[in-house]
Amino acid sequence: MDIRRAVGIALALVSLIALLGSVPHAGQYKPALSPEEQKSWIGSGFTLEDTLSWKRVGIGPAEAREWVMAGIQFAEWANQWKGEGFGPRDAAKWVRTANVYTAGEFRKRGFSPAEGTAWIENGVRSALRAEEFRKIGLAPREAGRWWRLEFFPKAIPPWREAGFGPEEALEWMYGEKEHLNDGVSYSRTVYSVEWAREWRGAGFTSKDARWAALIGLTLPEAIAWKRARFGIVEALHWRDSGFTPAVAARLRAEGLSPVEAEEQREAAGAPPGDEIASLHSDIHLRQDGSVLVTERFAILNRPDGAIQACFQRVLPAKTTLRYRRNSLRDARPMYDGIVAFLDGSPAPVDVVKDSHGDRTLCIGGQGSRLPEGSHAITLGYVTEDRLIRLRDREELFFDVTGRYLKMPVRRASATVRLPRGADVVFADGFAGLTDRKDFTVRVRTQDESDVVDYAVWRPLKQDMGFQVSVGFTKGFVKPSLWKRAGQFDRTTGRLLTSLLILVVGLCGTISYYSVAWHRVGRDPKADLVLREFEPPAGASPALIRYIVTRRRVDDVSVAATLVHLAQHGAIRIEERQGAYQIRMAGPAEGCAPLEQEVLATVFGDADRFVLGMARARATLRRARSSMMRSLEAEYRTYFVSNSRYLWPGLLLSAATMAGSLLVLNLPGGGKSATFLKIFSAVQVGVFGILGLLFYILLKTPTVDGRKLLDRIAGYRDALDANYRKGEHGTSDPGVSPFLARQLPYAMALGIECDRLTFRWDSTAWFTGRSGGFSVRDFVASLRRRTPGRSESP
């Protein structure tokens, strides 16, 4: 840049900056003050600095004084109040309880300062909310009570009309909080006001009513039990034992508990069948997350009972884990190391797996029969996937009775042992009918480990269950990566196994193909390619084209064959006004059998063949098919496909796909079906592409084939160079006998020869246009239909 120009620009920039700097910013505006004004402000008790700020917002000394007296001491603040439409007197009434905007909102919605203050002081700080409360007829104080308990105005009227105060409404309206995994949010059941009114009207507490709702006790039933002087919990026990309120009242008067009364009734009833006198399950959670279970059964096998053969125990393939009271997770536990003892001696265990994957253990072996009488059976196994990992704790859930216990259990108990160091957070569970908790629990510490003892205090009938749920502190169960992978595999329906089979199968298939290719698929090494000026001996133009175009037979193949036949004097090619016809001219001496076959197909019994007719096209199609067959046979002497080596690879691929898909055990449903479709399609695609790739790679030339390829390469090179020279040369190319003789091979090799003109004097086999034989036109004539030509020659 020119130095003078640079200096000019710099000076201009400096001037601009100076100009910008001289413009005062909005906040820096300093109004001028006359001596009189100064006197007036100072007389009103303002300092010079204050004066400037008040003057800047356009407030005079008298008004400023009023704002200050109203408690609004700063010009900007006063300006805000003024902007919301307040005068100093109005503002003074609001300023102690609300900010300018809240006050503005209250005033806009028709609240006087006293009213607004009352609402705000009772905790309703939003004018909109206060208006809503006012609309439903609540005074600030009462509204404040509801609002503090987080009742919105819309929810209040039904509860209020039903006679509930805020605290009572809150108690009846919501169930217990169930905290979610984020440690903050929670959910809770919301009960209707009608339900609350009915139960409260019948004299029940909210706790009783909720408990009744949980176990399905209707209000009339509850009233009946209440009239018989039973509390809800007690009524529930008697009801679960199968007694009506009247009978229960009588039995209770006799001093019986529900369980005693139930046992007495059963003793007096039908002869008992088989039963489990006691069941104790020792559940030992280990540090690696596996659970060692030892179940001890005391069996009473009576005549004609449920046990007709061996004692059976079902280990389910799928179980549901309950956590955080109402949440569920499906688990697919594995079972390992199953051992059993019958009356103190080791007993054989036969395992039968059903279509759902459930394992039925036959203790004593299939075909054995458990003798009648009392027996002690101990069953031990290791299982996994029984834990629920939450953010702040872990929970173990175990179904002690499991499914399919075909006989009642008189006494059930369980002991849960936690890993060393883990502290129990809660010990909960279910025993009895659905959602009942008919058990007692005790937590003790043994060898620095927390142990939880459960004892079910009622006999369990066949429709009753017993599950334990223990929460404990995190960090004491650390499953290995292998175990976690196994667990993930089971939970995802064996997806990992499927992928593993796929990967192993894919690697195996690739390895097989690679070995096969290495042994038989590699091409023999190319020899030195020398330029050759004659085609390989015995190779027709069609064969050469078949090889260089990777087994294609097209119009060029037919055209080259016809030109070759013409050169050998077998036919003449005639052209008139763009239409070609071929005449028989003599025997096809020196031509390949393939070419003679073409000749026979094209001419049949006729002596001429007119191109451009529909019939001609059909004839040429037949000729191409016949050429294809002959060429394929000839091709096989030069190239081998090695397809027999492809089959084992394809079989391996099919086996891999089948194994990978059959091992999957996905849950039913649309998503699984879609996944399965995509997964199958991907596999077919991958193995298909692999097969195709190796099909191509396994094909290889024989030694003769290799030599032929080398000679074709040398010949092509020579032809290409000569044709190019002929094209660029100044002499008439038509006179070169070499180029004219090699024409069918040049056509077959795809060498550009359209720009050359083969005049009739250098091509005795052609008569026609003055410009001579055109390759492009002749090839095109094979596929075009000449307009106006009749079908008959």
């Binding site: 905290h179 984020d182 440690g183 903050v184 949010s185 702040d392 704790r393 502290d423 129990v424 957070v425 809660f426 010990a427 007692t440 629990v441 005790r442 937590v443 003790r444 927390d450 929460g471 404990f472 502190t473 995190k474």
Partner: protein, 168 residues
């Protein structure tokens, strides 16, 4: 081509090497600066000044959403980073803080699976974390545990007595 040597002269080569060296530094530096400025701009849209943005980054909170969340719950960058390091999410940290727990206290109580509200209740009874763990193990609520403790019971004995129908 003539037979004459047509190579680059030494000075030109040095300049070229120098330019490549400078480019090797400036291009990545420029790209990173541009990306960083774009990110600063996007944070500015959420009310973070460039200085504040860099402050959050310096404390390891590099996503805007996380910063917005922590800020919305009343945390500054440094404090937020400490709570986050201990595995707290913003909303939970706010609750603990509101309950009067500092980070160490909150982490200690939470390690033993106490929620902020539960921890507050136990602490209000004057019990330590260890005491609270022992009493909770026996299914005692804080107030109830306090009464039994005041009556001279340890958790195991209190639980036995309660099972037998006794009261504190």
């Amino acid at each position: 081509m003539t037979g004459e040597h047509s190579g680059m002269n030494a000075w030109r080569a040095r300049v070229l090497v120098g330019l490549i060296g400078a480019g090797a530094f400036l291009v990545p530096y420029g790209c990173v600066t541009l990306i960083e400025n774009a990110r600063v701009q996007s944070w500015a849209g959420y009310g973070f000044s460039p200085g504040q943005t860099r402050e959050w980054w310096r404390h390891g909170i590099r996503t805007r959403a996380a910063a917005v969340r922590w800020r919305a719950n009343g945390f500054q960058a440094g404090e937020a980073a400490s709570w986050e390091t201990m595995g707290f999410v913003a909303e939970e940290a706010k609750e603990w803080k509101k309950g009067g727990f500092d980070l160490a206290g909150a982490a200690e109580w939470r390690r033993y699976a106490f929620r902020h509200d539960e921890a507050g209740e136990w602490r209000a009874t004057g019990m330590s974390v260890g005491d609270a763990v022992a009493w909770r193990k026996q299914a005692f609520r804080p107030g109830e545990a306090r009464r039994w403790q005041d009556a001279g019971y340890n958790p195991m004995d209190a639980a036995e007595r309660r099972r037998a129908g006794g009261s504190s």
